[in-house]
């Protein structure tokens, strides 16, 4: 051990010094006894007697050892002993004031619990490492059309297949550059029903990029991932557990995937997919010069030593070169990289940070409140402290005792708060919108960082609010406190009064900030709820049906399947309408396509407005209750070989045909000049990307003319849609027993999901706001009660001199209201300054919404006055005689 450390430890515990200390004691007391003996001899005793008396004088009958022990204890265990004594004293003191203790502990435990649960969610979403080694170097590689606003920074799909083939060879920034497509496949394991699985059809190096290790078996290799390679399947751990009964012997066996025999070769690690859930992986088997459209997603592992900026720059350069080499497909396109974490949790980041800030405010209010409680308590104990000081306790020791008391208080609260946090976190995760929560469920846990955070919060607040009363003790206004009768008005109580008033003002202003945030969020949420989505979410069931390409090879067979399925479903009792669409609204899917209008000059490549194209069956608009505004809907006659037709949304019609009817005009696709689809109808706008987003220019095509093998079914029913899952599944089975239906759920749930994150932040904000308001009210009430008690004498004099009850009430309420108003004024300034930060979370109201701010200020003022009124009324009832005598 180094010597400075040893001497520091010695100073704390004195352990190493015991022997030194004993020899010092022996030596100096020997001198003492010798001197006493000499004096006794001088007084006429015999030497033997003189020594005996000296020893007796020194040690009594206990012997020198007793005092040696005592002396040693004084030095050695001073620190530990005083700490122990302080803690015992603190616990005893807290037990003697149960009301105070309960109030303080409840306040702190609640706010520590709230802070910690929010923290653990933030921790899971933002701070925790992704379950991939080298997570910092994994990027999503994206392509984007520069002429269109980026609604999604790195979209679902949209990476060019040929570009991937070229860039995989030429990009030098990456260790591995993987690409994949996502779709649903039907998996049939031996002796099981068909299961609709989320499949990633991927290059083999995706596993290298993510640094995955198999739980069982292996992943496929580059050699296997080529045209004509074997049919292999990797299964996720959860899928294996749920559908393959976690049986290890599955590895090496075959299952049916979309009608083909695939060999299961591996199972992924349990936590592999928590942020990005996928059920199965299949080899994509691209050729050396792959062909196709923009249907891929790409991910890459950046080489060590290459920065993300360098990788990003390289991708942009490569994209620019492609635009020159092959302008028809690549002009106006750019490529860029984006850290994987940002892609996975980017959207919720702002919400979480805002909530963390809100809960931080709540914690501050709670601390201010407890500080207030402690100050009041210090006031009532001033005499006790004064007595202890005059009995020889040093002010420093008293201060330390008070500090110990608040630390004990906050540690107890932290333990209770931690228990609350564990439960609160679970509730919170349940409230979190589906996407995010499924990612986090396995992931939100109490870890050492949460414990450290809670402990830090507790200790910090303990020291923070313990400091105020402790400072008072150190300043040692002992004589005043001893003199101070019930009358008050001394320097001590005046400073303490000022401090408490300042705390109340701070609390009020923080509460206003919280409430303003809550008000803005709640109003945004209600605005979102009142947005007409453009369809009727109630009484409708949805589910996705994907047909395997192996058995459904032609557009005709695919179209025929959906016609039959719809007629089977329509026959189910209680079904009012049935239809299907390539991608439902609110699922985040979109396929933007460039087009020209017949009779108008074509747009330069890539500069057209772009429309979102969806294929629908004739029953779709009725099943969704989307109103037809003009022209006609699709019928069974709009089939293959018949004239191509389209229906457009109102936004489409108004944007491109402001002065005439859209019906009768002809759309020509940029990428398929053969198709000339005539607009036959206009339907109402639908908020496909959620209520907060603008409706888009939509082009609907009949499914029979523009076939998708995967469609979202919509079934409008009488009564509860959840009741129809079984009969609808059965109806589809009657057409083809091998076809599963995926994610069957009421349409309403989809709609609720679209506002879930706003709902979550609005309700949490409201909760924090109300808690903050409550705490601030308690703070004002406490201070006014204390003031009234301190001024009892003065009030008695006033009453005796003829002040009326209402005079007294007005006087007290006015001083309370002054504090509230000051707090409200400061809070309004703070909230106004900070509101801009919330802009992006808000919908339908400006961040400086006057109505919200005015309402909040009024509510807070009313609460402030009420909290002051109660003690005021008590003061007014004071009997002047009693008051004057006390």
């Amino acid at each position: 051990m180094s010597s400075p450390l040893r001497s520091a430890l010695r100073r704390l515990f004195g352990s190493g010094r015991a022997r030194d200390l004993d020899s010092r004691f022996d030596s100096e007391t020997a001198f003492h006894i010798d001197m006493a003996t000499e004096r006794n001899i001088g007084a006429g005793m015999t030497p033997e007697e003189a020594r005996r008396v000296a020893q007796l004088d020194f040690a009594g009958h206990g012997g020198r050892e007793h005092w040696r022990e005592q002396a040693r204890d004084e030095v050695r265990s001073r620190f530990a002993e005083e700490l122990g004594r302080d803690i015992r004293y603190a616990v005893r003191g807290l037990r003697r004031a149960p009301a105070f203790t309960a109030a303080a502990v409840a306040t702190l435990a609640l706010s520590i619990g709230a802070t910690s649960s929010i923290f653990s969610v933030v921790n899971a979403a933002l701070l925790q490492r992704l379950p991939y080694p080298n997570a910092d170097r994994i990027v999503a590689v994206c392509e984007r059309n520069t002429t269109q606003a980026a609604s999604e920074p790195c979209g679902v799909g949209g990476f060019s297949v040929p570009n991937y083939g070229i860039w995989r060879e030429s990009a030098t920034s990456f260790t591995a550059f993987a690409a994949f497509a996502e779709r649903r496949v039907a998996v049939i394991a031996p002796r099981s029903e068909p299961i609709s699985a989320k499949a990633r059809i991927t290059t083999a190096n995706l596993f290298t990029v993510l640094g995955a290790r198999p739980y069982l078996g292996r992943f496929f290799t580059d050699a296997e991932d080529r045209p004509g390679g074997p049919l292999l399947l990797v299964v996720s751990y959860p899928f294996w557990q749920q559908y393959l009964s976690g049986d290890p012997s599955v590895v090496g066996r075959q299952v049916l995937v979309n009608g083909g025999d695939y060999t299961v070769i591996g199972i992924t690690a349990p936590r592999f997919g928590v942020y990005d859930p996928v059920d199965v992986w299949l080899p994509i088997r691209l050729g050396p010069a792959p062909q196709g459209g923009r249907s891929l997603r790409a991910m890459a592992l950046v080489k060590p030593g290459v920065t993300l900026e360098q990788a990003d720059r390289e991708m942009r350069t490569l994209a620019a070169r492609r635009a020159q080499d092959e302008p028809t497909r690549n002009s106006n396109m750019t490529a860029f990289v984006m850290p994987l974490r940002e892609k996975l949790v980017g959207g919720s980041e702002r919400v979480l940070w805002t909530l963390l800030a809100a809960v931080g405010f709540l914690l501050l209010i709670a601390c201010a409140n407890v500080a207030n409680l402690l100050l009041a308590r210090a006031g009532s104990r001033a005499r006790e402290m004064a007595v202890r000081v005059s009995l020889g306790a040093s002010p420093k020791r008293l201060a330390r005792q008070l500090l110990t008391e608040s630390v004990v208080l906050s540690l107890v609260s932290a333990i209770i708060g931690l228990v609350l946090a564990v439960h609160g976190t679970r509730v919170l995760v349940a409230l979190v919108p589906g996407d995010l929560s499924s990612q986090m469920l396995g992931n939100v846990s109490v870890d050492w960082r949460l414990v450290a955070f809670t402990a830090a919060v507790a200790l910090g607040s303990g020291i923070l609010f313990g400091l105020a009363p402790a400072l008072h003790a150190v300043r040692g206004h002992t004589h005043e406190s001893l003199k101070e009768g019930g009358r008050g008005g001394t320097e001590h109580s005046r400073t303490s009064g000022r401090m408490r008033s300042a705390l109340v003002v701070a609390e009020m202003s923080l509460a206003l900030v919280l409430l303003a945030g809550a008000g803005l969020m709640v109003r945004s949420f209600s605005a979102l709820q009142h947005v007409n989505l453009g369809f009727e979410p109630q009484h409708a069931l949805t589910g996705r049906v994907s047909l395997p390409g192996r058995t459904y090879r032609s557009d005709t067979t695919i179209a025929a399947f959906f016609v039959q399925a719809e007629s089977q479903i329509a026959a189910v009792a209680g079904v009012r309408a049935v239809g299907a669409i390539s991608y439902l609204p609110l699922t985040g899917q979109r396929s933007v396509t460039g087009f020209d209008l017949e009779g108008r000059p074509p747009y330069p490549p890539g500069e057209g407005p772009g429309g979102d194209m969806r294929a629908v069956t004739p029953g779709y608009f009725q099943a969704m209750a989307i109103p037809l505004k003009e022209g006609r809907g699709f019928t069974v006659d709009d089939g293959m070989g018949k004239p191509d037709v389209a229906i457009v949304s109102e936004t489409f019609a108004h944007t491109l045909f402001p002065n005439e009817s859209a019906v009768g005009h002809v759309i020509v696709y940029e990428w398929d000049r053969m198709t000339h689809a005539q607009i036959v109808g206009v339907v109402g706008d639908v908020h496909h990307d959620g209520p907060a987003k603008q409706a888009y220019m939509e082009i609907y095509r009949p499914h029979a003319q523009f076939t998708y093998d995967g469609m979202d079914m919509v079934v409008r029913v009488n009564g509860d849609p959840a009741q129809y899952v079984r009969p609808v599944t059965a109806a589809i089975r009657r057409v083809d027993p091998a076809i599963p239906i995926a994610s069957a759920q009421p349409l309403e749930r989809l709609a609720a999901g679209a506002v879930a994150s706003t709902r979550l932040s609005a309700s949490l904000f409201a909760l924090f706001g109300i808690l903050g308001l409550l705490l601030a009210a308690i703070g004002i009430y406490g201070v006014m009660s204390y003031t009234v008690q301190q001024r009892q004498h003065e009030i008695g004099v006033r009453v005796a001199l003829g002040a009326s009850t209402s005079n007294v009430i007005r006087m007290v309420v006015r001083s309370g209201a002054t504090l509230s108003l000051l707090g409200i004024a400061i809070g309004t300034v703070l909230a106004f300054a900070g509101a801009g930060l919330m802009q992006r979370l808000l919908f339908g109201i400006p961040p400086h919404d006057r109505v919200t701010f005015a309402t909040i200020a009024l509510v807070l003022a009313a609460v402030g006055v009420l909290a002051a009124y109660l003690p005021a009324r008590r003061a007014a009832r004071v009997d002047p005689v009693t008051a004057l005598r006390s």
Binding site: R24, H32, G392
Partner: protein
């Protein structure tokens, strides 16, 4: 350790104050302090001589006194104690507090 009784605290506080006072007159060793206290009280106060040493060690740990080896009058090795500046300040505060307390106690005892 047993909880401290209040009069223990009182006695300790008093002893500490007296020791500090004795040292205010100048640096001294343990025996000399005993003699000073006896003389100062005109032998009315006989403190337990053993309890002096725990008190000295305590005061030293609190930083109110400091100590070092030196020679006594008869040239023997003795431990010398000396007031520190914070010890001086502490003594002044203690003295004031004691005056107040004794005055208060005196008033109470003088009640008719």
């Amino acid at each position: 350790m047993a909880p401290q009784k209040p009069n223990d605290e009182l006695l300790r506080g008093m002893l500490d104050m007296l020791v500090l006072k004795a040292l205010q007159l100048g640096p001294m060793h343990g025996w000399g302090i005993t003699e000073r206290l006896e003389q100062g009280s005109r032998s009315a106060l006989k403190i337990g001589q053993g309890s002096l040493y725990p008190a000295l060690y305590r005061l030293e740990a609190q930083g109110l006194v400091s100590s070092s080896w030196g020679a006594s009058d008869n040239n023997r090795r003795a431990r010398w104690y000396e007031l520190t500046s914070s010890g001086r300040a502490h003594l002044a505060a203690e003295r004031q507090a004691w005056r107040r307390l004794s005055k208060a106690v005196e008033l109470i005892l003088a009640m008719e």
